[in-house]
Symmetry: C2
Subunit: 251 residues, 2 copies
Amino acid sequence: MADSPTELRAAFRSGVSGPTSGLAPGYAQANLLVVSTDWAYDVLLFAQRNQAACPVLDVTDPGSPATALAPGADLRTDLPKYRVWRDGDPVGEPTDVTDLWREDLVAFLVGCSFTFDSVLTRAGVPWRYPGRNVAMYVTDRQCRPAGRVHGPLVVSMRPVPEELVDTAVRITTLMPRSHGAPVHIGPAAELGIADLTRPDFGDQAIFEPEDVPVFWACGVTLQAAVMASRPDFAITHAPGHMFITDLREQI
Amino acid sequence: MADSPTELRAAFRSGVSGPTSGLAPGYAQANLLVVSTDWAYDVLLFAQRNQAACPVLDVTDPGSPATALAPGADLRTDLPKYRVWRDGDPVGEPTDVTDLWREDLVAFLVGCSFTFDSVLTRAGVPWRYPGRNVAMYVTDRQCRPAGRVHGPLVVSMRPVPEELVDTAVRITTLMPRSHGAPVHIGPAAELGIADLTRPDFGDQAIFEPEDVPVFWACGVTLQAAVMASRPDFAITHAPGHMFITDLREQI
């Protein structure tokens, strides 16, 4: 598959599907959450109040499937897979949501840690999950609520060799639009995670000797908020199937 | 006057008034904009779309005069001076807005460049306006609009010795919640500013030989948006009379 954002979005539009981890290195990937205008203020404020988990990259105008992050893209077709929600429950995973689109829908695009994976790799931090989805966990930390929107903090976890943890912290601190610095380094129990081998989303991570678990705030926090807050209708990306933007990673 | 945020807010609450430039060094100062819930989404989205000018530090719940930025503070009394707006026109500058407060009002607190002045000073960048208000200008650049909210970018300008411009850029780049890196360095005409000696807000700046004008996005952009967008009712701080938070500057 070609690897420019435009070509990848065109492939997804034509029906190709699959996780986006490792695709289009150097370009920002984004989480998607679509809700009705009735819920938009609460979602935007929730994102503002929980910026580490939900760094907003763009918000569309009501009814518009266009985003400033990728001129020419169509948010109804250009992601590899969506998840549709009714009353907080997932009800389907289509690869196109054109028939579900409405004039009162607003799309939120939120930064994703996939964006910093290629930067970490270039800096010599080994990538422990090529071909797999990153491991994600629901923590026991509650986000600061906003109106009707509330839910727990979700984190992604990467095994990092102990001597490279400083490097990973230093680099990601400079990338606040991709969740910034880790929220926790070390024992998972301190985040209320009982068993690292059983992620709530994504695939189990592979640890090498000397690897330390490093946890970053994760955009799936928004999906957890949908589950907890139960808006009548929502569309998100399917986990790991992100929107690939034209935005150059910034560091 | 004592110089802790708590003591300063108590003084303002008791009726003391005056510009806050240079007060409580090391603590973040904030712009205030209060609108009805009807306007809150458009304002929040405008801030999100114009983050350099409007880095949101906190948004209150409807009707609440309390903010997470300063537990115990009361946003109706704890600023040294307010400006009240009706239909986009300023109609008064009280030092207390308790009698104007309503259950449907939402307060936005937005980062201010006063926060980085003390950091620049410590780094050896001379402060050219002690005892004066910083010079601010309306530019010919339009902000990205959001719903009914639109308006021009407003900038603050500081004269910086040419050999220290790099230092000023390096430091403020690390402080995105206080507007971040300059938006422009050098000739004012490139921002559509006709005459540097006549600021639109604040006081004329004093240039020393070898000083270069350096421009930062400014939170007064929100007041310019009120003027342009004409909500029926709004309250802001009076220019230069900021809310002093308990938030430590972050660099």
